[in-house]
Point group: C2
Chain length 406, copies 2
C-alpha cells in the first residue's frame, strides 16, 4: 500500500450524502414535490442525470408534474412528484368463509371494494376464479384498464411459502396444499402476483396505514385462531420456512389439562381463541356456540363473558410478555374479530405485559386495538405489491424497459 | 395515460438483472476474481463505467489485480478481486472481567489478538484507554499503520443504544450508563466506532463465520447471565430500544418460588444461568460456588451436576420453543461459557424444543453448540465494522473522496 492511497481518508468519515440514480425515485415516493435542482442536491446526482431520470419516470407515468416552484428570477422551475394513481393494485383477502377483493392505487388508497361470501374449502380454482372475475369488475367500476394493473396481492388463511406463493399444509384449506396460486392467477392476469398469510399482511396493512414511523411493530390476530405478524427493522419477518409469528401453539402452564386441535396441551389457541372462550362459557352453563356469541354476551354486560375475555387477554399477555422481551417492539396492535371487540381483552393483555416484561422494553411500548380493522388485510395486500413493484430493482428494470421501448 | 406508456410492460415482468455502479463492489465482495467484461455482464453497466469504477477501487486499495483470464486471442484480460487485507479493523470484546482486543482484516481474519484481565466496573475511561493502547500495540504487531485502520467495533456486556453507541442502564457496568463510548474512542482513533452488546455481536460473529447461508439465525448465550442475539432476514435485530433478545427474564412456571435479581420470580436466568445451577447444587450439599464449578463436577461425572445442566437445558428449551414458533429460525446456536460446555445442556434444550414447537418450524431446524466459541464476539465486532464501512453508501462516499483527492 503506497502513500497515495494509504491514508484511507474517506473511510475515516461518515458519508455526507449518497448519490445513486435509483435513489431519485425512492426519494420521491414520500409524495413531496421537488424541483430538478432540489433532486440533484438531495441525491448528489449530476443535473443532466436528474433530467434524464425525470424524463424516464414521467414517461412511465410514475412521476408527474406538480406545479412550479417560486422563481429567483427567470422562468420558475418545474416541480415533480410521485403519482400514486398512475397504476392500480388488486388486493385480495381470502378468509375461511369470505373473500374481500379491492382495487387500490399505488399509495394504498381503496378505489373499489367488494366483500363476497365464499368458503376457502371450495378449493383454489373456484376461489381464485371468483377473485379474478370480481377483480375485473372492480377495475371497470374504478374506471381503470387491465393494462394499468401493477400487480395482485393475496392473503390466505394459512401458512404460505412467500417466495413461491404456495400454501404449505394449511389446516383449514383442503385442496390448497402446494397449489401454484401465482401461476394460476397469472394465466388470467399477467402481472406480478404476491401471496402471504393473512396475519402477515394484516400486520403490513395496519403498520403502513397507521404506524408508519414504527419499525419494530407486532400485530396479533385473535379470532377463530391466534396468530401474529412481525415487523422488525421496518421489514416483515417470515422466518426460514414462512411460519414466523405462529403464536397460537405456544404452551401455557394454565392450560396443562386443555388439549388443542394440534394434539398438544395448553396451547394459547386452545385457551384464548374465540371458540376456546365460547367453550369455557358453555362449561359455565351459558349459551355460547362461537366467538361472536361471547362478544354478544359481553356487550350485554354478562360478567362471566367479560371475565372470560379478560382472562383470554391475560393468557395472550403471558405470551406477549415474552415477545416484548425478545423483540422489543414499540407498538403491539391487537386485531381479529375477537381482538377488536372492545377493551376487556386488551385490558387483560396490558395487565400481564406491563407486569411481566422488562422495564426498558416497556418504557415506550404502546398496546392498541387495530385501527384498520376489517381493512388491515386489504391494505397489507396492496402494500405487499407496491413494496415489490416500486422497489429500486424493479423500478430500474421498469425504466430500462421504458427507455428500450422509447 | 396514453398508449405509448400505458402498457406497463416492464412492470409486468420480474427484473432480469439490475445495474448500478455501487453494485460492482458489492459483487466483488464475494472474493471471486472477475474481468471487466464479466463485471459489465453481471451488473449491466457500460464497459467505460466499469473501467472507471475499477480504477477508483484500485486506487482505494479495496480491489486489487488477481491474475489474468484465458485469452480468446490477443492480450489476455486482467482479473480483479476484493482485497480484504487492504485495511484492518480493531475488534474489541469487553466482558465483565476480561477484555479481548484483536486486529482483523476486512474479511474477518484475525491478524493479532490479546486477552487482558480487566474489570468492566473499573469504568469506561480506564477500560477504553487500555483498549486503545493495546490496539496500537497489536497494529504494530500485525505490521499495520494507524492510517490503515478502517474502524473500531466494540461489544459491551450490557444494553447499548446502537445508533449512539451509548450503554443504557447496564446492570454490571457502574459508570458506563450513557457514556459516549464513540466520542471517547474517536479522541484517540479517528475512524468510525461501532458499539453493540456482546450477545448481538456474538450472534453476528458466529453466523458470519460458520452459518453464512442461514438468514434466520438465533444465538443464545448461557453464562453468568442468559441473553440472545436475533438475526432475521439476514439482519441483526435490535428492537425499538436496543433490548431485543432479552431472554433472561422470561418467566417460567417451574420457578414460581425462585426470585431473580431483577425482582421478579421465575426468570429463566434465575433458574438456568451458571450461578443459578451452582446454587441448586449447593442446596443439594455439593461444593459449587459458581458456574465453572458446575462444569468441573459434570466433567468429573457427577450425576447431580449432569442432571442440573440437563434441567437448565430444559428450562432454556421452554423459552426457545416459543422462539422457534415465533421467529422460525433455521439454526439455534448455544454459546457462552456454560452453553459450550458439553452436550448435557444442549440435550435438554433439544428435548423440549422438538417436543413443544410446531412440526413445520422444526422440520429443518438445527440446534448446535457454538463453533466460534471464545472468538464469536471478536469476529462479530469485526463484522459489525465491515458491514458499515463496506456498505454501498460508505463505499460511494469513499470512492467520491478518492476521486476528489486524485
Amino acid at each position: 500500500m503506497t502513500k497515495s492511497h494509504g491514508e484511507g481518508a474517506s473511510l475515516l468519515e461518515y458519508p455526507a450524502s449518497q448519490g445513486r440514480a435509483g435513489d431519485l425515485f425512492q426519494l420521491l415516493r414520500d409524495g413531496k414535490a421537488r424541483t430538478r435542482a432540489e433532486l440533484a442536491g438531495s441525491t448528489g446526482l449530476a443535473r443532466s442525470t436528474v433530467a434524464s431520470r425525470i424524463e424516464a419516470l414521467m414517461l412511465s407515468g410514475l412521476v408527474g408534474p406538480a406545479g412550479e416552484a417560486t422563481s429567483s428570477g427567470g422562468r420558475p422551475p418545474s416541480r415533480f412528484a410521485f403519482n400514486p394513481s398512475s397504476r392500480v393494485v388488486l388486493a385480495v383477502d381470502v378468509g375461511a368463509s369470505h373473500v374481500i377483493v379491492a382495487v387500490t392505487d399505488l399509495g394504498g388508497k381503496i378505489l373499489a371494494e367488494q366483500r363476497l361470501a365464499r368458503q376457502v374449502s371450495d378449493g383454489p380454482e373456484a376461489v381464485l376464479d371468483q377473485v379474478v372475475a370480481q377483480g375485473r369488475k372492480l377495475l371497470a367500476t374504478a374506471g381503470r384498464k387491465a393494462g394499468e394493473l401493477a400487480g395482485v396481492g393475496i392473503g390466505l388463511p394459512g401458512p404460505v411459502e412467500h417466495d413461491s406463493g404456495k400454501p404449505v399444509k394449511p389446516p383449514i384449506m383442503p385442496g390448497w396444499d402446494g397449489f401454484d396460486v401465482v401461476g394460476y392467477v397469472q394465466q388470467s392476469l399477467r402481472v406480478p402476483v404476491l401471496v402471504d398469510n393473512d396475519v402477515n399482511i394484516m400486520a403490513l396493512g395496519e403498520r403502513t396505514a397507521h404506524w408508519p414511523e414504527h419499525g419494530n411493530f407486532f400485530f396479533v390476530k385473535v379470532a377463530t385462531g391466534i396468530g401474529s405478524g412481525i415487523i422488525s427493522s421496518g421489514e416483515l419477518q417470515r422466518g426460514a420456512n414462512g411460519t414466523a409469528g405462529d403464536l397460537g401453539h405456544v404452551q401455557l402452564a394454565r392450560g396443562a389439562d386443555v388439549q388443542c386441535a394440534c394434539g398438544n396441551y395448553g396451547c394459547l389457541e386452545a385457551l384464548a381463541s374465540g371458540p376456546a372462550i365460547a367453550r369455557a362459557l358453555r362449561e359455565q352453563g351459558l349459551d355460547a356456540a362461537k366467538g361472536s356469541d361471547v362478544l354478544r354476551l359481553a356487550s350485554d354486560g354478562n360478567l362471566q363473558a367479560i371475565q372470560a375475555l379478560r382472562q383470554a387477554g391475560r393468557d395472550i399477555g403471558e405470551v406477549l410478555a415474552t415477545v416484548v422481551n425478545l423483540l422489543n417492539p414499540s407498538v403491539i396492535v391487537v386485531g381479529g374479530s375477537i381482538g377488536v371487540s372492545g377493551e376487556h381483552l386488551v385490558a387483560g393483555i396490558r395487565e400481564v405485559v406491563y407486569r411481566r416484561s422488562q422495564p426498558l422494553a416497556t418504557s415506550h411500548l404502546r398496546i392498541a386495538v387495530s385501527i384498520a380493522g376489517d381493512q388491515a388485510a386489504i391494505l397489507g395486500a396492496s402494500r405487499m405489491v407496491t413494496q415489490y413493484v416500486l422497489s429500486p430493482a424493479v423500478i430500474e428494470a421498469t425504466l430500462a424497459g421504458t427507455a428500450a421501448a422509447g
